[in-house]
Symmetry: C2
Subunit: 559 residues, 2 copies
Amino acid sequence: MIVGGVGGGMSAAARARRLSEDAEIVVLDRGEHVSFAGCGLPYHVGGEVPEDDLLVQTPASLQASLALDVRPRHDVVGLDPATRTLTVRTASGEERIAYDALLLSPGARAVRPPVPGLDSPRVRTLRTVADATALRSAVDAGARRAVVLGAGFIGLEAAEALASQGLDVTVVETAGHPLPPLEPELGALVADELRRLGVTVRTGVAATAVAHGADHDVVALADGTRVDADVVVLAVGVRPDTDVVAAAGIRVERGAIVVDERGRTSAEGIWAVGDATVATDAVTGERRPVALAGPAARAGRLVADQILRPATARPLPTALATAVVRVGDLTAATTGANRAALTRAGVDHRTVHLHPAHHVGWFPGAEQIHLVVHVAAADGRVLGAQAVGRAGVDKRIDVLATAIRAGFTADDLVDLDLAYAPPFGAAKDPVNLAGMVAANVLDGTLRLWYPEDVDDALATALVLDVRSGAEFAAGHLPGSLLVPHTELRDRLDEVVAAAAGRPVRVLCGSGVRSHIAHRVLEQAGLDSASLSGGMLTLRAALDARGSDLIVTAEPALAR
Amino acid sequence: MIVGGVGGGMSAAARARRLSEDAEIVVLDRGEHVSFAGCGLPYHVGGEVPEDDLLVQTPASLQASLALDVRPRHDVVGLDPATRTLTVRTASGEERIAYDALLLSPGARAVRPPVPGLDSPRVRTLRTVADATALRSAVDAGARRAVVLGAGFIGLEAAEALASQGLDVTVVETAGHPLPPLEPELGALVADELRRLGVTVRTGVAATAVAHGADHDVVALADGTRVDADVVVLAVGVRPDTDVVAAAGIRVERGAIVVDERGRTSAEGIWAVGDATVATDAVTGERRPVALAGPAARAGRLVADQILRPATARPLPTALATAVVRVGDLTAATTGANRAALTRAGVDHRTVHLHPAHHVGWFPGAEQIHLVVHVAAADGRVLGAQAVGRAGVDKRIDVLATAIRAGFTADDLVDLDLAYAPPFGAAKDPVNLAGMVAANVLDGTLRLWYPEDVDDALATALVLDVRSGAEFAAGHLPGSLLVPHTELRDRLDEVVAAAAGRPVRVLCGSGVRSHIAHRVLEQAGLDSASLSGGMLTLRAALDARGSDLIVTAEPALAR
């Protein structure tokens, strides 16, 4: 008996049938549809995917192909582990159904924050086919203004979809940047792209009320501003849908079902998978639900093995929470731990920023990948990676996700033998380069400074800009000294004099030239460091904190 | 002192400077250009990359940035390890140059087979900027017909480039299919794409002579046919350029320089990297030169460490020989060992074929990836993978290359946490699916049969086609029984009767439905197996061997 006919539940059902022709396999779902493409809902709103294409399977097709007894509109309202019985509500009333083995895949519900007015009919979540068709209908009916509450993955997919349909979209996010799991210096790039799409980005502010009007709603924000909306999409997160499970006495942890490595809950004969369960983070060991389709689908398959052939079944893997989203022409992706998670877990780490081209720069169509990689200070293991760019982002994050799963170090990234031809990469792929930079940092060949050190650097160090004069003129830090890296060896005395005993903090466009310069300066005996990711990272980081430090057209000051 | 200013040599020079400001670093190259984009030469012929963009660096730019003393047109003609002296030929005569440490990066030369007439001025290799500009000039001068000898990576890039410029191109390859490192069933797909581009593909035949005409050359083939050519590209492979090295008494093995894991040659104070060196295959342990830009560039960096800070330098990695090529709209890529290499090495393995969509099928633009993965029978370790398709191919091969480097098994592929959103992949990514199918094969849940078994199956088994009637009518094996998989459970008695005690060999379109059917049949007690990769793989495999076994519109025979 499987509760929940989307994601992990349906994956388990299909695997169970392949393992056993004899098993009676029943799938109960409260919804209208089973096995629908939940990840496709925003794309239906945006007109890219017709409704029919969202409905991957029907009860009839699943019966024909896999002899599954799939029952939509069956809402499980009670569960008694002792008697192995479910109480199910249907259109014709309540019934009790017995099971031998039970797999819970209840998923998650949209979080509804305590904001007055969220009961407006113009406010929709984006969890079901009905949600998507309602939003699509609103678009077709001429909605002009949309407010999206929450700039997580689903919120951004909704915002992109609505903007693509010509709506005037405002995204409201309480965190400081869109896609809060991203580092701020990458989130700033996503914010830029949203603005390019015509989306208004309101970060660091919460919605406080939705006022229902005759013609439209008005969303009030905590800073006193108000935004008119013909539709409001509520996408501030999800929480495990476990009220029935908890009421049955099954152990939950902050609302999520606790499972062991075999997917077993605290109750005999009951397993659970998916968004409603607690997962263990592969990098930090943190325990939390991970609401992602991929891990759920794969866990469903493994737990079917646990139920039907436990002797040879494998344990569930830990979670890397690899995720990706398209926002306009950009792709943003993440795997493993971010800086915040590493800090929470107390993992001493080093961070590198790179901006390599997704394939060799001299081949037409090269696009920059903005890449952040965290490695462990102790042993160089890769802990997490994030990337934003217009091409090749998902490939590098998938390679890095595989590397993290393997326990690879920065050195191992250097040695990866990745596919190179000019249309696809480089002899030193961005992943190789990330390993090289991180290995240099770990062994001391390269010493970095970071955008968060900029105030300190300006106050106490010589900031040395080794770009060209033209780049410098287009924007530089106030008080920085311009010495193009090609002139540095000849002008070393000048730099030493300008430093006057202070440290030298070098920067260039992306961190490549400043690395060379740092090596020159360090071997000349100076206290030197190179800005991680260069001006590209610095600009984004300053942007994320709303700073306006960079000046243009100021003559170089040789202080 | 570095001999060879492209690839590994230049990479070593740049690293050496970053490690040491004090070192005197001299780079000698026989050619006109140093640090040019060798991989870009075919794209210059095809008009995609201008000549200037091929010249990545110049001696002046390398002097300015890295204080390198780069000397083009310096041909090393002698080497005396005892006195640490090179003999170098330049425009002004011969000179002797002393070194403290010598890094050899001589690269490879094009193989020139003993075919009469290859000295025609219309015959060019594609190794230097001069080669590329000569071919480009021939195109600009109105060449109409090209013959490309060799359908390896460079041959196909040249063929694609010339076809894109409107030339009538014939590719001649002695192996049975283009891209000989690919499995034949994937090579057939590349041959199809070449034909779609208007290229004539002549496989399994050698050129025997090139006759020089006043107006054009004529290439004679071993089967007696003759092909007119305004240009001939010779791309039948490369051999290490090691005559000088071998003459100096440095140990070579079948022409390639023998190096240890630190890149050291048999001579004290001499290291070597790149196409001219012997590499050890990561999977099979086979020793051979690997002529690829990526490994050379990364080895150059590591060997610079070996020379300048040997105490902490890491060993050179073994070779996966990951490679990729664009052919028209197709991408073809490979990593690790192919079937031939595994057979040579005596590695017992299992092979799976899949044809998943590069992202979820219901999202617009889904393209099929034709994927072959080999795993070890003993422990399930991934040994090699190949893929052909229009999108997402390089990503999956890079993930699999990383997995092979990690020593991952089929089970580990299942657990990879790869980035999923509808535009990028699937909850079960093609790599996850490959792991699932391979794991099923390894633990006996799935039993496969292969295209090479087809004659035997037709002679001794019931071939059961579980596709739809329409698919069956469009092409099926003679004598096969049609029972759509959705009807199989109801018509099991009919299948048992038709089998009449014989084995049942099931097939469908790609192997997904036949897997389900196989599970039904096996659990019903039949000797069953599912065709690996289904009709898609079978058609390609039959195509590769020139077989015309598939029939259309024949009524289903229930023998």
